[in-house]
């Protein structure tokens, strides 16, 4: 896959983290297969698979948001953004980054005690297997929000002098190249690039 380039140490941290958590969907599939096998063939359903997948799912959602932020691939509408002059675009970027930081701060402000208590009392899920889902996921939400805010600031600084603006088109083209290659249509037709 063609990834957005990585600059700076924050990008490096995000990328390393993502390398691990992006494997989790595959792990979820594997343990689910095990569960289905145990349940229907051996009739010994496990207690832990459903809750483990739930738990890992949470990690995937949260960290995927950081990765998507580093890759500049969060869903946004760029009708106006693409036509305004460069200086105004910068102003827009400063505004959205500031608001993202404010949002993260407000959420942490309101939720810190609850998450902290869940963590130090090692709050459990209250089921048969009883994993400490609240104790881990609740603080992780606030942590990921903070990291996303930091990543947003880092993006703003790193993109300040770059001229590229049409991320989403590049994104699309990269994905399509990948599918073409996988399908054996390897002749990259450069003619379609740039005029999409």
């Amino acid at each position: 896959m063609v990834e957005h380039e990585r600059k700076g140490w924050i990008d490096a941290v995000t990328w390393r983290l993502s390398q691990v958590t992006m494997l989790f969907p595959a792990v979820i599939v594997i343990i689910m297969t095990y569960e289905v096998f145990m349940r229907y063939i051996l009739e010994k359903p496990t207690l832990w698979v459903n809750e483990m997948s739930l738990w890992m799912g949470g990690w995937v959602y949260l960290t995927a948001g950081i990765y998507a932020m580093q890759q500049r691939s969060h869903i946004r509408i760029t009708i106006l953004y693409d036509v305004v002059p460069r200086w105004l675009r910068k102003a827009f970027d400063v505004l959205s980054t500031t608001l993202i930081v404010l949002w993260a701060m407000a959420t942490i402000w309101g939720g810190f005690n609850e998450s902290w208590e869940a963590l130090i009392t090692w709050e459990r899920f209250g089921t048969a297997w009883d994993p400490p889902i609240p104790a881990v996921t609740q603080p992780l939400i606030l942590l990921c929000l903070a990291v996303i805010a930091v990543q947003a600031v880092s993006n703003l600084i790193l993109d300040w002098n770059s001229e590229e603006s049409e991320h989403q088109d590049e994104e699309l083209l990269a994905e399509i190249e990948e599918i073409k290659r996988a399908q054996g249509f390897s002749g990259t037709n450069d003619t379609s690039k740039g005029n999409i």
């Binding site: 595959a26 997948s53 948001g65 946004r76 407000a106 959420t107 994905e175 399908q183």
Partner: protein, 527 residues
């Protein structure tokens, strides 16, 4: 501050933040904070660090992460990305086109049919349009098919992925509105097939009336005549039926041998076993005596491309409807099925899996964080009393019930032209659905079919929403299907050309929308 002013500020703020290009999820998250500040005042919210009403924002997000159904989202995305990277779709196309190449408009029909099968495998669009555009579009253009017909067929059929179950749009709708996703999937079947049927009927009628729209390929000596097609077709059906029977008998044998038969276990009684054995013998005799082994293997060589998709559809939909697993596990089993097929086809590489996982991870991040932001906003707005306010406002107008619903459909269509479906489900549904539920149920639909089934209203509304989103995939100026197709189409096909090709298909979608709008019965067949 009163809720009317808050609502107005919220609306203006949202429009403004989206216009400046702030990501949708984060804009909603920030506006959640704004709503809280306007409602409670900064003194109360920020008086003490770590507590206060703002904790609702984190709680809403945590609530989502503990919803088991949401796990199916990354898994369905994973399955779709794996499918896009395998040759399963290409082989299905080759297999199907052999049967239809002497039929007028055959390749367009094959494209539609293939899109339906792919829609039943996964619940995502994008990849599907790209695949069809890569595989079928060059064929159609080379044969001299009408460009608009070719483009419209590919994009409209390719968008069916989110209409025919499993559909990621319905999963998110079910999650947000707490509606049964099983029920939504059952309800979506008939409208989905009506839509696909309309497309195919349109292709047949147009090409019959004007054969120059879809020229036939030059006859080649390899073409099968009608008789051969019938024999081969019968042989393939017999092979599939045999495999099915063998699997069912193996299951029965397993259950009997390990003494696993419960009261409600079906298809294990003596009559069933005896009759399937007889059917199996008859089918095998037919293949052996009538068709002859050499023709059976020829038929298999032609038709085997259809087997992998059938297996995947059976695994996914069979797990859901057979009651074997829930939706999340069905998605997991679908991934396994696709993976096994990829390995059997010798296409497995580390790069393939790694790329699929990265793509999955990125798409998951973008979809889920819109969900996070929007759920925080919906939570804050509900605390501030917003939905009730809007409901009173709308119910208070003297619009008739159908008028209110029609306005909602227009809002969906309008938003759909500019915004991603996830955003609409998350931001608009918490406001619209309570209103719909308060409307007099006897006014819904021309024949008021839901008087006896009041709890079916949210399901029907979900299907209406899903059809609206079908239109939004095609509607200018941002119909995503057009951009996906553009990227694989020859350069001389411009975006306006593509949107022009969509027009008749959008008209058909609106027709189906109207049909389901006036006759909710269409969604109630498996109720």
């Amino acid at each position: 501050m009163d809720i009317g002013t808050i609502s107005l500020i919220l609306l203006v703020g949202l429009l403004f933040l989206l216009a400046v290009g702030m990501p949708l999820g984060f804009a909603s998250g920030f506006l959640a904070v704004v709503v809280m500040v306007l409602k409670f005042g900064p003194d109360l919210l920020f008086s003490e660090f770590g507590r206060g009403p703002l904790s609702i924002l984190g709680q809403r997000m945590y609530g989502l992460t503990t919803d088991y159904v949401l796990v199916s989202v990354p898994l369905f995305i994973f399955m779709a990305t794996l499918l896009e990277r395998s040759g399963i779709a290409r082989d299905m196309y080759t297999s199907l086109s052999v049967w239809m190449n002497r039929t007028r408009g055959g390749i367009a029909l094959v494209t539609s049919f293939m899109a339906v099968v792919m829609a039943a495998m996964s619940g995502i669009i994008g990849g599907e349009v790209v695949l069809l555009g890569l595989i079928a579009l060059p064929q159609m253009l080379r044969l001299g098919y009408d460009q608009n017909l070719a483009i419209g067929t590919i994009c409209a059929s390719g968008s069916l992925g989110t209409m025919i179950p499993p559909s990621i749009v319905l999963i998110m709708y079910g999650l947000i509105t707490e509606t049964s996703i099983h029920a939504l999937f059952k309800a979506a079947f008939v409208p989905g097939f009506i839509m696909a049927g309309c497309y195919m009927l349109y292709i047949i009628i147009r090409t019959r009336l004007n054969p120059s729209l879809a020229p036939l390929p030059e006859p080649s000596p390899d073409d099968m005549d009608g008789y051969t097609k019938r024999v081969y077709g019968a042989a393939l059906v017999a092979i599939l039926a045999c495999s099915g029977l063998v699997i069912l008998l193996a299951r029965a044998a397993f259950l009997i041998f390990f003494d696993r038969i419960a009261e409600d276990t079906t298809m294990v009684d003596g009559t069933f076993i005896a009759s399937s054995c007889v059917a199996l013998v008859v089918l095998l005799a037919f293949l052996q005596m009538k068709v002859r082994p050499e023709r059976v293997s020829a038929a298999w060589a032609i038709g085997k491309g259809l087997v992998s998709p059938i297996v995947v559809v059976l695994v996914v939909l069979g797990s859901i409807y057979g009651g074997i697993t829930g939706i999340t596990e069905a998605a997991g089993m679908g991934c396994v099925a696709v993976m096994v097929l990829i390995i059997m086809r010798g296409e497995f590489t580390k790069v393939l899996v790694k790329e699929a996982l990265m793509r999955t991870f990125k798409s998951t991040g973008t979809i889920i964080w819109v969900t996070f932001g929007a759920t925080a906003l919906a939570g804050a707005y509900t605390i501030a009393g917003g939905p009730t306010y809007i409901a009173n406002l709308i119910v208070g107008t003297d619009l008739p019930t159908l008028g209110i619903l029609a306005v909602m459909m227009l809002v969906f269509l309008f938003l759909g032209a500019f915004m991603d479906w996830v955003g609409i489900v998350l931001l608009v549904m918490p406001v619209f659905l309570p209103i719909v539920l308060r409307l007099p149920v006897e006014d819904l639909g021309l024949l008021s079919p839901m008087v006896e089934a009041r709890n079916f209203v949210p399901i029907w509304f979900g299907i209406l929403f899903c059809i609206n989103m079908q239109v939004s995939f095609l509607s200018p100026p941002f119909g995503p299907a057009a951009f996906y197709l553009k990227s694989v189409a020859p350069p001389h096909i411009t975006l306006p050309d593509i949107f022009k090709g969509f027009l008749p298909f959008i008209a058909m979608q609106l027709g189906v929308l109207a049909a389901v709008f006036f006759f909710p019965e269409l969604t109630m067949f498996f109720h």
